[in-house]
């Protein structure tokens, strides 16, 4: 619809902001390839897509955070370029990031006027700021005292403060990146009411969400991205959940199927009645039990905040457990250190490889050998030839594309960096491999390669547990799919379950 009409739509009065043929590449990785996207005036346009589809990149371009490699942005029929997010804000475009950008130590008033304080003869005109902040809160029908510190507010209220800040600069276009991911059901209601108020006042909203059902309640138009390209666009009346899922995940790409032709071994990992406390008395993992056999691949599916990461980190020893036992091949390891668990054969490939997986100051080779240094220490000293053999083997086994072991880790693509983290853990000869969102931020080819690697290892008797927030990944190599919701197992399925059932169990959708 949108893509087809092309230039003509640039003069459509209903389109307030449009991206034409926008492309963006980071090094060799193409995040966006020739996307056409239009925001309807005074309506809610929702952008759907899986992780890595390019949603955030597109929104960053529209809000001036990054500049596109090619293509143009058209605001009210005129071509514009934004030099910065401040520049975009001056044009009336505001973005509310998934990660709220508020200063928790400052008051609501100070946050709303941060960076553009109202001046008076004697400095900042706090009284006028407070008055305007109160007016904004009243407008949003939110009973928040402007002098409250942001850290004392619930997350939903913090989101309202972000919206108030956007409104205070007379934003005509408001981009919301996953605004409900951290909100409770009642807070979502409040947010939707605010969104409807805003659209009735002529504000155009761009909405991004993984909660498909929820997004369908609020949206007027839907646009779907996949692998950096727009795959479909339609009005609310023409679409349903199936339409979105179909366009989001595509039909054809094969991520593999569960490896077969062998029997599972004994129970390798037994998690029994494990709870994890978030430090404030709330259980993020709530008395959860799970057994994984040698050779089995288990997928843990769940929305953000379901407790997947916390569960895996607790099993790996990163966070302490509040109760329960973790038994690895018959031995209770709940009190062991991370290093001891690695020694006993339990390893974790963390979710955020930049923060938790890689040492950026070290080369590819040294990252690969980091977890198995003990294997090549001889009489106090590292044995370089032995280390090099280990590194070369690892590079070959997990198919890392690098100019050599000495290459800087930053020179690799996301997929190859991920393979370094996996390769590093595999060189320790684990019995149980935990992977937290192993496909995050890597392209679909690398994803398939990683999955192929995992199923090969499973065939050799490795127990594999990986978490994901993408349904298609559950229905690939996993023998068993465990759906987590609010720290508990909501459902378990075999490999032949439907996408809709998985999504329904996670709370993502009420259809199916």
């Amino acid at each position: 619809m949108m893509g087809a009409t092309g230039e003509a739509l640039a003069f459509d009065d209903n389109v307030v902001l449009a991206a034409h043929n926008v492309a963006k590449s980071y090094g060799a990785v193409q995040a966006l390839r020739g996307v056409n996207f239009e925001i309807q005036r005074g309506q809610v346009t929702t952008l759907f897509g899986e992780n890595g589809a390019g949603k955030s990149t597109l929104m960053k371009i529209l809000s001036g955070v990054v500049t596109p490699t090619s293509g143009s942005i058209i605001l009210d029929g005129n071509r514009v370029t934004f030099s910065s997010s401040t520049d975009a804000r001056d044009h009336g475009i505001s973005i509310i990031h998934q990660e709220l950008s508020l200063a928790p130590n400052l008051s609501v008033r100070d946050n709303i006027f941060m960076g553009r304080e109202l001046r008076s003869a004697t400095g900042v005109d706090f009284a006028e700021e407070a008055r305007q902040a109160s007016a904004l809160m009243a407008e949003l029908e939110e009973d928040i005292n402007p002098m409250t510190l942001v850290e004392d507010l619930r997350l939903g209220q913090q989101q309202i403060v972000e919206i108030a800040r956007a409104l205070s600069v007379d934003s005509r276009i408001l981009i919301m990146d996953e605004p409900t991911s951290a909100l409770s059901a009642t807070e979502v209601e409040v947010l939707f009411k605010v969104i409807r108020d805003l659209t009735s006042r002529g504000v155009s909203i761009v909405y991004i969400s993984h909660h498909l059902e929820e997004a369908l309640q609020i949206t007027d138009h839907a646009v779907v991205l996949r692998d950096g390209a727009m795959t479909a666009a339609a009005s609310r009346k023409d679409i349903d959940l199936q339409w979105i899922v179909r366009n989001m995940v595509g039909e054809n790409f094969d991520l593999g199927r569960p490896p077969g032709g062998y029997d599972f071994g004994d129970v390798a990992l037994s998690v029994d009645d494990v709870s994890v406390d978030d430090g404030r008395g709330h259980l993020v993992v709530d008395h959860l039990s799970l057994n994984v056999r040698a050779g089995e691949i288990v997928c843990i599916y769940g929305l953000m905040g379901a407790g997947r990461t916390e569960l895996l980190e607790a099993v790996a020893g990163r966070v302490p457990i509040a109760g329960g036992t973790v038994v690895l091949e018959g031995r209770n390891i709940a009190q062991q250190s991370i290093a001891q668990r690695i020694g006993n054969g339990l390893v974790l490939v963390p979710e955020d490889r930049q923060r938790d997986g890689l040492v950026q100051t070290m080369s590819v080779g040294r990252n690969l050998s980091l977890a198995s240094i003990g294997a090549f220490v001889r009489a106090f000293f590292l044995n370089r030839p032995m280390e090099n053999v280990l590194i070369e083997n690892s590079i070959a086994k997990v198919h890392i594309k690098t100019s050599g072991p000495e290459a800087a880790i930053g020179s690799l693509s996301g997929g190859n960096q991920q393979k370094v983290v996996i390769g590093k853990m595999l060189t320790t000869h684990p019995r149980v491999l935990l992977l937290d969102e192993p496909s995050r931020g890597i392209d679909v080819g690398a994803k398939a390669e990683v999955f192929r690697l995992l199923s090969e290892r499973a065939k050799q008797g490795l127990a594999v547990v990986f978490s994901t927030s993408e349904v298609t990944e559950c229905l690939s190599i996993a023998h068993r799919i465990v759906v987590m919701r609010r720290g508990r197992i909501a459902a378990q399925f075999g490999a032949d379950v439907s996408k809709e059932k998985i999504m329904a169990a996670s709370g993502e959708s009420v259809a199916a």
């Binding site: 980071y26 090094g27 060799a28 990785v29 995040a31 992780n51 890595g52 589809a53 949603k55 955030s56 998934q98 990660e99 709220l100 997350l155 990146d177 996953e178 991911s181 951290a182 909100l183 409770s184 807070e187 991004i208 978030d278 404030r280 905040g305 407790g307 990163r318 991370i338 290093a339 020694g343 963390p350 955020d352 923060r355 938790d356 997986g357 040492v359 100051t361 070290m362 040294r366 980091l370 977890a371 240094i373 590292l382 594309k401 290459a407 930053g410 020179s411 690799l412 693509s413 996301g414 190859n416 960096q417 853990m425 320790t428 995050r440 931020g441 392209d443 080819g445 390669e449 720290g487």
Partner: protein, 372 residues
Amino acid sequence: MSDSSTDTISTPANSAGKDFNLIRLLLEGRAFFALIVIIIVFSILSPNYFSLNNFLVMSSHVAIFGILAIGMLLVILNGGIDLSVGSTLGLSGVFAGFLMQGITLDVFGVVLYPSLWVVVVLTCAMGAFVGLINGVLIAYFKVPAFVATLGVLYVARGVALLMTNGLTYNNLGGKPELGNTGFDWLGFERLFGVPISVILLAVIALIFGLVLSRTAFGRWLYASGGNERAAELSGVPVKGVQVSVYMLSGICAAIAGLILSSQLTSAGPTAGTTYELTAIAAVVIGGAALTGGRGSVQGTLLGAFVIGFLSDGLVIIGISSYWQTVFTGAVIVLAVLLNSVQYTAKSKKPESSAPQPNSPPQGAKAQSADSA
């Protein structure tokens, strides 16, 4: 998209040609070139500068800072900072002096005069203990390194003053009949014409150079300094490494304290004041990153020699000590400036991991459960 398209990407250096490579070489070898420039300039300005004997004398001055700086390097590689080394140095001298005066044991009515090697071992143990306090505060009680070592800086200095009542031990010679002579050996003796302190610096540099490049501990140190979370998840005992580096830094400070009091033939409680800053400067000039994970013993040694040869050179050509301070400061700022130039150039990577839409904020994750 196939992964073959995401092969390694050529760095800007590869494409920018010869000029860039020359700049790069100058940048990476800057401490070395700076040292050569200093030697040439002062040799021209003063006929007394360029002689073997002067170099040895200057090197014996460098030794103290060099040893402190090597300890500091370990801490900085770990991403920390140790402000207490100057005080530890002073305390070590006083502690050694105190032992040399004899320990009176009232219960037995005797005075013990520990022999020299006992004094040395006990002093090093004392330095390690100060480092242990630093390390435990930082690793286990999560006190920021800057604050913890700042506190210990004051405490150690205070203890040194208390031990002597603010006075200085002048008699470190020992008595032959007590078998504790030889304290001046460290500061005055020469082996094959080379001052012992310089040999000691070389030995310590060699040991730590090997430790950093050839042992598991060295690899752990670089890894935990580069990314502590990743190192921990790879099984590196990050807390143990952290405590160890502060203890090693304390030992280095104690050795430096012994050398200094031997050179001065006296142990004053205020010795070594602000030496920690010189040590940090040497490490930084040597190309280490204050954020951790980057740096080498060779670089740090060069940094120490740059500072030492510069300030001694300024003394030799008769420039006022006020100007020396100005010059040293300028060199430090220039070094840090070049550091940031070098590391920004290096980190201009292709951002291949950048397309990570919807990377979940950890904070939001934790909070989400809270608000649910």
